[in-house]
């Protein structure tokens, strides 16, 4: 892996694959969506650099949501799953040593957050957040429980499909991305106005993790595979020449 600072500008975001800011069916987006166009410009060092986090930051149980809330004393309730995959960038290169953070509801669909008042009870053994750093090949994994679906105040009867929120840094602040992983076969995906903010169905499908029996562990957990792609960076032999040459 060459030094990031030798690379060229970030590949501009293809906004067509991302959800538009304004979506009338996702009501909170209505007052929170900018109306004017974004100002486009080639990236600068402010976007091409970014924070780095060392493996020493990560505790032994940070990527084990079944045990991390009780520090190993008691396991969380729910269907045990391995969530795993690679962080890649658009040129196909793995993104090694980058921080991946997740958060999710418990098996009943309840978040451990002061603002969540859903009927489903908290699990005393489940916190709902985890973090890890990708290895040299961009791999990451989390052991967790499958989150429950839950209702949310939007249209009269909207439910979120089972999902896990994911935050990824990459190596450049301009690569910063938050998205959600959905689960293969969940009938609520097709009914969810947040999933439907992505207008191209083939792009939404890229957020649906397939059941991965090859990585499931007999008598222990099922596996779901979820790869994440971040913006790439251009690299040509012409990139670093002085202006005008």
């Amino acid at each position: 892996m060459s030094d990031n600072r030798d690379l060229g500008p970030l590949v501009p975001r293809n906004r067509a694959i991302h959800p538009p800011a304004y979506d009338i069916d996702y009501k909170t987006s209505v007052p929170r969506s900018p109306r004017w166009s974004l100002l486009s410009m080639e990236s600068t060092p402010s976007e091409e650099t970014g924070p780095r986090f060392g493996h020493s930051l990560i505790g032994d149980l940070d990527n084990n949501l079944i045990l991390n809330f009780t520090r190993g004393k008691a396991p969380a309730v729910g269907e045990r799953i391995l969530m795993h995959g690679r962080v890649l960038e658009e040129m196909g290169r793995p993104v090694p040593h980058t921080l991946v953070e997740i958060w999710q509801a418990n098996a009943g669909g309840r978040y451990r957050h002061k603002k969540d008042t859903y009927l489903a009870p908290l699990d005393p053994n489940f916190g709902g957040c985890g973090r890890t750093i990708t290895d040299e090949n961009g791999y990451y994994e989390f052991l967790t429980i499958r989150p429950g679906a839950y209702p949310w105040p939007n249209r009269a009867n909207d439910w979120r499909p089972m999902h896990i929120h994911i935050s990824v840094f990459g190596h450049s602040f301009g690569q910063r991305l938050i998205t959600q992983m959905y689960f293969e076969g969940d009938p609520l995906i097709d009914r969810c106005p947040i999933a439907a903010t992505i207008k191209d169905r083939s792009q939404l499908d890229r957020l649906v993790a397939p059941l991965d029996m090859a990585h499931s562990r007999p008598l222990d957990f099922l596996a779901y595979k979820f790869d994440i792609v971040l913006r790439g960076r251009r690299q040509t032999m012409f990139e670093n020449k002085l202006e005008g040459m």
Partner: protein, 199 residues
């Protein structure tokens, strides 16, 4: 037929949702002590070189209401214009911070050092600025913007100079309200909408 371009496509964004703090700021979410070290709690450590400043503001929606659930990340160089990890960078200036709108008042505060100027590709100097990334329920893709400073020379900044409607430039410039104190509001929509970036 032509050769196939085998590049990948960025994963589509989804909103960070109302519970983003659980994952990124567990202490704020009421789950303190979760991790041995939370990241981004301050962009500077004791002894950071440069002028320590405080920037306060709100993230305001199209109705004029300040969001109580916005989460912001900032990224900046040290006082000499070096980013963390670059040769000669100030080891006490990590440059990255996470902060949230206050759940009661909606106010956010960023305490940091004033960043130095950084050149753009090609050598043109950019005026000192802090990059921001704003996520919240109702924001489908994280919003990028920048904080510039009214007491710096912003006349030749390449990004500010690309803003055609000169009346919008001020939306990116923090107002000085006291010694080391600045005000910077982020307006998602409506009158005075902040210039957001695709960069």
């Amino acid at each position: 037929m032509v050769q196939k371009l085998d590049y990948l496509v960025e994963s589509p964004s989804q909103t960070a949702g109302p519970y983003v703090h659980i994952g990124l700021m567990p202490t704020y979410a009421g789950n303190g002590g979760y991790y041995a070290t939370e990241i981004g709690t301050s962009p500077i450590a004791d002894g950071a070189k440069g002028e320590v400043i405080e920037i306060t503001g709100e993230v305001i929606d199209g109705t004029g209401w300040a969001l109580r659930d916005a989460l912001i990340e900032s990224w900046q160089p040290d006082a000499a214009g070096k980013f963390a990890g670059q040769d000669g960078a100030d080891p006490a200036a990590a440059g990255h911070c996470r902060f949230a709108a206050d759940a009661e008042s909606g106010l956010f505060t960023l305490r940091t050092v004033k960043p130095g100027a950084v050149a753009a590709r090609g050598g043109a100097m950019q005026a000192p600025h802090i990059s921001l990334w704003i996520v919240a329920r109702g924001i489908n893709t994280g919003l990028q913007t920048r904080i510039y400073f009214e007491d710096e020379d912003n006349a030749n900044d390449p990004l500010l100079n690309r803003i055609e409607q000169r009346n919008r430039v001020d939306t990116l410039i923090a107002r000085k309200v006291g010694e080391g104190q600045y005000r910077f509001d982020i307006r998602l929509q409506g009158e005075g909408e902040t210039v957001f970036l695709d960069i």
